[in-house]
């Protein structure tokens, strides 16, 4: 199983910064997981016990708004990682996620990866160095959208 996961993960650039040994260590905690269009991957408030490397398809991060249903916050496509709430306590999803179309992923056991990070700080540092840019880029993207750049001044309430 690990060799299959390893070859699939190695096809995508996200974990390319890991050494071969670190990649194998990571992939020992991974397994393929697929979702059908519309299928929920995780729900807000649930235990963040996994994270996913998207191989193909796309997923939508969403938030349940009373009276408005699941509001899509952002979509993630192939090559992206889905989920970082597994990195820090209380290990609960802050948003939900659902497959927009058939979604092929490698799902990683979060506790197993955290244990490896604790046992091998070099591995843990390498993992954090891969996830920090993702977190930063999505924060920046969110800030850009807060600016409402495409709105007219009237739409953003300016004279």
């Amino acid at each position: 199983m690990t060799d299959d996961v390893l070859s699939r993960v190695a096809k995508l650039p996200f974990f390319a910064g890991l050494t071969p040994g670190q990649l194998r260590l990571l992939c020992e905690a991974g397994r393929p997981a697929s979702y059908q269009a519309g299928e929920r991957v995780f729900a807000e408030g649930d235990l963040a016990d996994r994270f996913w490397l998207i191989e193909a398809g796309s997923a939508a991060l969403d938030l349940r708004v009373p009276g408005r249903g699941d509001q899509v916050i952002e979509t993630l496509a192939g090559g992206s990682v889905l989920g970082w709430s597994w990195l820090y306590p209380p290990y609960r999803w802050q948003f939900g996620a659902a497959a927009r179309e058939r979604l092929d992923t490698i799902a990683f056991d979060a506790a197993a990866v955290r244990n490896r990070c604790d046992a091998d700080p070099a591995f843990g540092y390498a993992i954090l160095r891969l996830f920090m840019p993702v977190i930063t880029e999505r924060l920046q993207a969110t800030r850009l959208r807060l600016l409402d750049l495409y709105a007219t001044s009237a739409q953003v309430g300016q004279p």
């Binding site: 899509v72 496509a77 959208r145 409402d148 009237a154």
Partner: protein, 286 residues
């Protein structure tokens, strides 16, 4: 300032009358006007150049050309301008009915120089109404498809209802060798496309950064972040072009209203290599 030589006058200071021959409503606040000359036509516009459009009695605004006539089209020298009603002049132009006459000066400014991308992949990234000035780039590339490599068009909009040219986006997306990615900031019910900022689409696009030319148009902040994403892919800044906007007035570099450091954007822009633009747009005082 690069004012050592007298600025070339590429367009009359006097608006020429053009008749609105069609008015297509693109979104709730945006229309595309097709204009035909009543008298002597202006010189041909190149993709990226702009005209000063006059709503008589109200004022004048710079609007980029948003369409090119098909080769051999009898409507050659007709102009297409997509404009959004945001101020007094654009509201008046937006409301102009077919048959009415508006004033046109131009062509002004630099072009996208589409031909320089021959033999390379073409990456077009547009945000909001920024799709209008790059539409002629795609039209020019598709008119001579065999001269170019892979074509990527990435478009961002505020909402699905704000997307310009939805029919053309579908048609372009169905064209062999053309990848179209569309994303919105605020999805509506039933929207099945991407949600997020347009630079986020870049990593998923298939093109060879080492042999590509990129054309980027949209709000300046969007262009900065898009440029960073393209540069991070390995695209050289010298093959990344952006369309900058300042307060264009005269159109020929006389009045200085559109100055950006050493550039007078009505003459030295609006299309500028990012290698030249980046140090200027990062200066707060400019």
């Amino acid at each position: 300032m690069s004012t050592s030589t007298a600025p070339a006058v590429t367009g009359s200071a006097l608006p020429r009358p053009y008749r609105v021959v069609s008015r297509r409503v693109d979104t709730g606040d945006t229309v595309t006007l097709e204009l035909a000359h009543d008298a002597e036509p202006l010189p041909a516009f190149a993709p990226g150049q702009f005209a000063m459009l006059t709503a008589y009695g109200i004022g004048e605004v710079p609007i980029s050309v948003s369409g090119l006539p098909e080769p051999g089209d009898s409507r050659a020298r007709r102009l297409a301008h997509t404009l959004r009603a945001v101020g007094a002049v654009t509201r008046a132009l937006h409301a102009t009915a077919p048959g009415a006459v508006i004033g046109v000066r131009g062509p002004f400014g630099t072009s996208w120089n589409v031909a320089s991308a021959a033999g390379q992949d073409v990456v077009i990234v547009a945000g909001g109404i920024g799709l209008a000035p790059v539409r002629p780039v795609l039209q020019a590339v598709l008119a001579e498809r065999s001269r170019y490599g892979d074509v990527v068009l990435l478009v961002g909009a505020r909402t699905p209802a704000d997307l310009l040219y939805p029919d053309e986006l579908r048609r372009w997306g169905a064209t062999a060798g053309v990848q179209v990615g569309v994303t919105v900031d605020r999805p509506s019910d039933g929207w099945t496309g991407h949600v997020g900022v347009v630079p986020a689409l870049i990593p998923g696009a298939r093109f060879d950064p080492a042999r590509s030319v990129a054309f980027v148009c949209g709000p300046e902040v969007m262009m900065r972040f898009t440029a960073r994403a393209l540069l991070a892919c390995g695209l050289p800044a010298t093959r990344l072009r952006v369309s900058l906007e300042r307060n264009m007035r005269c159109g020929v570099g006389w009045c200085g209203h559109c100055q950006l450091g050493p550039l007078l954007l009505c003459r030295d822009g609006p299309v500028v290599d990012y290698a030249r633009a980046e140090p200027l747009i990062n200066v707060r005082e400019l």
